[in-house]
Symmetry: C2
């Protein structure tokens, strides 16, 4: 199967979650218009995304929910072995951990790193929390390739070479700092304080 | 002053935070290249953003840090009266509250709403937490116009008409649900589970 656009991948994940609800409610078919309405997107996008997966809807009854679910799961198998770690286990780290572990995500959280003595050496939903100085041991031995950074605003730049050397290929940066990236490293960032200012500006001006 | 592009606004906030650090370190001038490197963006963007604010750098010594800071603060005055509430005060709500209150944001969190008895009627850094059924009273009486929704995955659609009626103009949606929006309502969404899947896909495929 060809590589799908990044936006399609994000939407596939949203479809998957909706479709699991449909399966649970034993509803065998779904229209692209229903998926589009639930997700507040254009039905044309839904139809194009599913066409990229090899599906054509049936005008009379829509898409087969089980088949669609299977196809998305099959596509996600490519990333189903992906392991991530969470660096920083304050409120944001805990929130992210909960959301990922509770969403039947294809990504597994395989380790947590924190600097607080009350978290280190404990396990959270069977995932161990290590001190930060164990990064370079635990990441390679657990074959972790993604890091979700939720803290360490000051030290994130110092952390990056260690992460690269340990085998991390992608970073989800939830701090307000935008560090210079080592070569070959991918990073996605979300900064809540900038996002809320941008929203305020849009509603006010 | 003309309306600035949304991306410029988000970057202005990043510049502001960096410049506050420069002021604190008593460094009077900064080059666009330094700002660009710290934020991992193109120096051309920095120069264009600051030109939109009415600033031209001086090739020999760069931009005046204090003047630049003042200009950004002045621009943000437009939104400095904006009040937001946080709906849902679990780990994600607490993380967002901390990030906004600790970032010297021009946006004020004026109320928190939650369904947990251990939070209701308490105050967090002088901000009161109310039960959800107080939404329609507290939001108009506190002149709150933004809502940051961090929970209530099931009920978010039921919540929207109440929020519109109470005077909310913009929503920051940090849940995995994409509800259909009432007319005139703006929404920005960030779904961590979809973002991490997209990152995994980019690094693996």
């Amino acid at each position: 199967m060809d590589k799908l656009p990044a936006k399609t991948i994000e939407r596939l994940n949203s479809y998957r979650r909706l479709l699991l609800r449909y399966e649970y409610m034993e509803r065998p078919y779904v229209f692209s218009a229903d998926l589009a309405r639930s997700l507040n997107i254009n039905p044309v996008h839904v139809r194009r995304d599913l066409m990229l997966l090899g599906f054509q809807g049936n005008n009379a009854r829509g898409y087969n929910v089980k088949e669609l679910n299977k196809a998305i799961a099959l596509h996600f198998q490519k990333i189903a072995q992906t392991k991530a770690c969470i660096i920083g286990f304050g409120n944001m780290g805990k929130a992210v951990f909960e959301q990922i572990t509770e969403s039947e995500s294809p990504i597994t959280i395989a380790a947590i790193f924190d600097s607080s003595p009350e978290n280190i050496h404990k396990t959270f939903a069977y995932v161990s929390c290590y001190s930060i100085d164990k990064l370079t041991q635990v990441i390679p031995s657990s074959a972790i390739t993604l890091a979700i950074i939720t803290a360490f605003e000051e030290d994130i730049t110092a952390l990056l070479p260690l992460l690269t050397a340990s085998g991390i290929a992608g970073i989800m940066n939830l701090t307000a700092v935008q560090p210079t990236l080592p070569k070959g490293m991918l990073m996605e960032s979300f900064d809540i304080t900038s996002a809320i200012i941008s929203l305020a500006y849009k509603t006010n001006c």
